[in-house]
């Protein structure tokens, strides 16, 4: 396989980062390992463009967790990204006149003016990042203008659009039943508004910083990002947690399960792990500078990379096969039917044997 060959070459340190093998390398290594291995190559590749990339990061129906997650990048860290990488050699720093409410310096009317400057940024170099869901009019208003308008306006100028986190991709928690504000993901919103532009979806709750950095790097160096049916980069979201990646899989196969959270070793299936219905590379990539991820820390995966989350993945502590339990629990119903059958047979058999005894007696 190409990937295996790549890994062998990697160990020998012979693979150079190019636009063409970018995606393959990320899939082979997982985002965090890729970033540490290729940091200097990325920086070099980006510095070659010697050009400032304009980023507007908009927050809608969000919790700002994705911003905070982004701030956890380690190698490169967020300061390097914003001062060295994304700006090339311009020397312009974190407070650049781009838009990112949670960290940039401007407030009030100057902040709104920052958005206008982003729009006037160089053609082909404007990235729009959206965090948070898009809601019905009136539920999110910034500077007197509905968030929907802010988005529609910015989308016109964006050369690449990245939706970060569950909320901006698939609606997330705000869109959970009964969806009080009719929240939805960016791609759905644009489709409804008749805007035909590609959105790169980076779900998970929150977005994984390494995935975002890799995606930004891919956009900037012009590497082609292949997307799946849900707009997610295949390099991150095409492996099944449970079948392809989980290090606890041998426990599952042996039937060794954790039954009380925090007690014992084993697979987390019985405390609700949604790995079997989740397609991410969490076990490879992990979180917070490659520190850990949900299952490694002892928790069940709750499937935050998937459309339909959380409703189709809850109750979170319910086994995957029992998820229909709100209506029917297949195990209980199944055991019931099987038990009733056995009972029926039992009754039949007992009556039959009594009757045959009687017949024998009569014949005597």
């Amino acid at each position: 396989m190409i990937i295996n060959q790549l890994l062998v070459d990697l160990k020998g340190g012979s693979v150079k980062l190019t636009r063409r093998n970018f995606v393959k390398l990320v899939s082979a290594l997982g985002a965090s390992a890729f970033l540490t291995t290729y940091k200097s190559d990325i920086v070099a590749a980006l510095e070659e463009t010697k050009d400032y990339w304009h980023i507007a990061w908009l927050n809608g129906g969000a919790c700002t967790g994705c911003t905070i997650s982004f701030a956890q990048t380690a190698d490169p860290d967020i300061l390097q990204i914003l001062t060295e990488i994304l700006v090339g050699n311009s020397g312009m720093p974190i407070v650049l006149p781009d838009y990112m409410e949670t960290i940039h310096l401007a407030s009030g009317s100057l902040a709104e003016e920052f958005k206008e400057r982003w729009k006037r940024g160089k053609d082909g170099r404007r990235i729009l990042i959206v965090e948070g869901a898009i809601q019905d009019p009136g539920y999110c208003v910034i500077a007197g203008k509905d968030f929907r308008e802010h988005v529609l306006d910015a989308v016109k100028y964006a050369d690449a659009i990245i939706a970060v986190g569950q909320c901006a991709t698939f609606g997330g928690i705000p869109a959970a039943k009964p969806n009080p504000t009719n929240a939805k993901g960016l791609a759905d919103f644009l489709r409804e508004e008749g805007v035909n532009k590609e959105v790169i979806n980076l779900p998970l709750c929150p977005v994984n910083a390494d995935q975002l950095v890799v995606t930004l790097a891919a956009v900037v160096i012009g590497a082609e990002i292949e997307l799946d049916d849900y707009g997610r980069p295949k390099m991150f979201f095409s492996t099944n947690m449970h079948n392809d990646l989980c290090p606890y899989r041998p426990y599952y196969d042996k039937g060794q399960f954790v039954e009380v959270p925090g007690e014992g070793e084993g697979c987390k299936y019985k405390i609700g792990c949604k790995g079997p219905i989740t397609w991410t590379d969490c076990p490879l990539r992990k979180w917070n500078n490659g520190t850990s991820y949900c299952v490694e820390a002892g928790a069940p995966c709750i499937g935050c990379s998937e459309p339909g989350w959380p409703d189709e993945f809850s109750p979170f502590y319910e086994e995957v096969s029992n998820l229909t339990s709100a209506i029917i629990d297949p195990t209980k119903l199944g055991t019931g039917i099987f038990g009733a059958t056995l009972a029926g047979i039992g009754v039949h058999a007992v009556r039959r044997s009594l009757k045959s005894k009687k017949e024998v007696e009569e014949n005597e």
Partner: protein, 564 residues
């Protein structure tokens, strides 16, 4: 009178609009514009409480975490404690220690982020203190002028603190390892050892850099006070005379004692102090008073909801949003204690636990090196910008030090049960009372037929940024903004007014020249498109909102929290 509006307020979490009606202050030196009345509006609503209804109660803590990605961990904890109260199950002592470790690390991150990234830039600029000014000249600026050196380190240290959260929680934001009756994470010697090694670095940074940076600001504060007093000809001591609020401070207590969880729980049933916890509960109104859960009510007259006003959280219905409601101007409700306005947050925690004089020993927990004390006396009994910042620094130090005790203690519990599992209850209700970084946090859950029947969260920023209540009392921040000066000059001009001397040496940058602080800032700001930083234009006049923003940010607003 005119109306100065800041919308959006940035470097906070969420969507906040602040409107300030002004009045004129006449003094011997001239006519000055100050804030007469302020109106704070939260402008985004999601309805998380509505979303919770009908779900498995155990899912609540995972969903309520998503109320806010800046402070997910406290929501998780308050929610989990509410669930445990409803399920009638207690976490094991080992679980309590693990929770303290996880949440302790979380706290360190949060207070650092606020002190440096959110409120820091204005403090650094006003204090003429380059390490706290954002690294506007990148790596070179950090190396040559120390411009942003602390800011850059803060980013690094907060990340390391969160790596501890991830180690015990799987990831941050939104950790995943709590469970009713304990924790899903297995405490191991390895996890403890790794945490200790990270904490060693974090502790020294806090003691040596964060505390030092604060002392520098404190020094500069006198200068700021003198300068503003002269300009305005009023008695203005400095940032302690900026942002005074009601002087009522509420705290629910934080970090329970793993051997005395009953004391921790007692407050749910009768008034108390949670004295055994690291941070106590209390309702300070000039003196220490026991906290009484029954005295909390939420008012909605000025909020965009159709709900009944003035109810206890256990009696409130799910929110019924109505954006057209008369008089209303915010998605926040107005929580009140004993019908009065209380401030919550780090200052409230410190005052309710230690009174107004604090003395925290700084002995390196690893090397034993004695760095003396962090000492501070609250300078304004009504609260103020500088007191709030001081409390945040003090708590960061206090918690970082305490982390070592919890880790040590956890070692001795290794091998014991971390979870006594409890999965469900048919009927039940419970409160979780915890301190989030921004203040007192309450979650309430009611379970009927194994499902969530009603959920209510009353959140720190709701207290601090509430609109007016039914009695017309403005919220804590609205009140704190009253009287704030809105100078009609640029940021660079303000700096020049405070520091006229030309002593900023630009030669490290290859410019053989000494200029004043304002002269150094002006071209940098201009180049960055920030010449009009914090300026709002109203009817031809230009007001500088820097001081107002300092007041607002001193409360560390989180509007996703406040509205939920």
């Amino acid at each position: 009178m005119s109306s100065v509006v800041i919308d959006p307020v940035t470097r906070i979490e969420g969507h906040l609009r602040v409107e300030m009606r002004t009045k004129t202050l006449e003094t011997s030196t001239g006519n000055w514009t100050v804030v007469d009345e302020a109106y704070c509006s939260g402008t985004m609503f999601r309805g998380i409480e509505i979303i919770l209804k009908g779900r498995d109660p155990r899912d609540a803590w995972i969903i309520t975490q998503r109320i806010c990605g800046v402070c997910p961990a406290p929501h998780a904890e308050a929610s989990m404690q509410a669930i445990e109260a409803a399920f009638n199950v207690k976490p094991t002592p080992l679980a309590i220690l693990v929770r303290n470790i996880l949440h302790g690390a979380y706290y360190i991150y949060d207070h650092i982020i606020h002190t440096y990234l959110l409120i820091g830039p204005e403090l650094g600029v006003l204090a003429k203190y380059p390490p706290m000014v954002p690294p506007a000249l990148g790596k070179e600026g950090i190396a040559k002028l120390s411009l942003g050196s602390s800011y850059a380190q803060a980013l690094d240290i907060q990340r390391k603190a969160n790596e501890i959260v991830a180690m015990w929680g799987g990831k941050f934001p939104h950790h995943q390892t709590e469970y009713p009756g304990g924790m899903a994470v297995k405490p191991t010697a390895e996890r403890i050892a790794k945490t200790l090694s990270k904490m060693t670095e974090i502790w020294s940074w806090i003691a040596n850099v964060m505390v030092r940076d604060f002392m520098k600001i404190l020094e500069a504060n006198e200068r700021i006070g003198e300068a503003i007093s002269t300009i305005l000809d009023v008695d203005f001591r400095g940032l302690q005379d900026l942002g005074a609020s009601t002087g009522n401070f509420l705290s629910y207590g934080l970090f329970p004692d793993h051997e005395n969880y009953d004391d921790w729980l007692s407050i749910l049933y009768s008034p108390g102090y949670r004295k055994s916890a690291l941070i106590n509960a209390g309702a300070w109104d000039g003196e220490r008073k026991a906290f009484d859960l029954k005295k909390i009510e939420e008012y909605v007259r000025y909020s965009w909801y159709e709900n009944a006003s003035g109810l206890h959280p256990s009696e409130e219905d799910l929110p019924k949003p109505n954006k057209e409601k008369d008089e209303a101007y915010s998605w926040l409700k107005a929580p009140r204690y004993d019908k009065r306005v209380y401030e919550v947050g780090p200052l409230a925690r410190m005052i309710n636990t230690f009174g107004t004089k604090w003395k925290i020993p700084m002995i390196n927990p690893v090397t034993g090196e004695d760095l003396g004390y962090f000492e501070y006396e609250v300078q304004n009994p009504q609260g103020s910008v500088i007191d709030r910042v001081a409390a945040r620094v003090a708590l960061t130090l206090l918690i970082a030090t305490k982390m070592f005790d919890w880790l040590q203690e956890a070692k001795s519990y290794l091998g014991e049960k971390v979870t006594v599992k409890k999965d469900k209850v048919r009927e039940g209700e419970g409160f979780g009372l915890w301190e989030a970084p921004r203040g007192a946090l309450l979650h309430y859950i009611r379970v009927r037929d194994y499902r969530i029947d009603r959920y209510q969260a009353v959140v720190p920023s709701t207290w601090n940024f509430s609109p007016r209540d039914d009695f017309g009392q403005p919220g804590a921040a609205e009140r704190a903004l009253e009287g704030t000066w809105l100078p009609e000059m640029s940021v660079a001009k303000i700096c020049d007014a405070i520091y006229p001397e030309k002593d900023v040496d630009l030669s490290p940058l290859g410019i053989p020249k000494k200029v004043s602080w304002g002269e150094a800032l002006a071209p940098a700001l201009k180049q960055l498109g920030l010449a009009r930083l914090n300026i709002e234009k109203v009817n031809g006049s230009e007001y500088n909102t820097t001081l107002a923003l300092l007041v607002i940010r001193s409360f560390d607003p989180c509007i996703a929290c406040a509205v939920h």
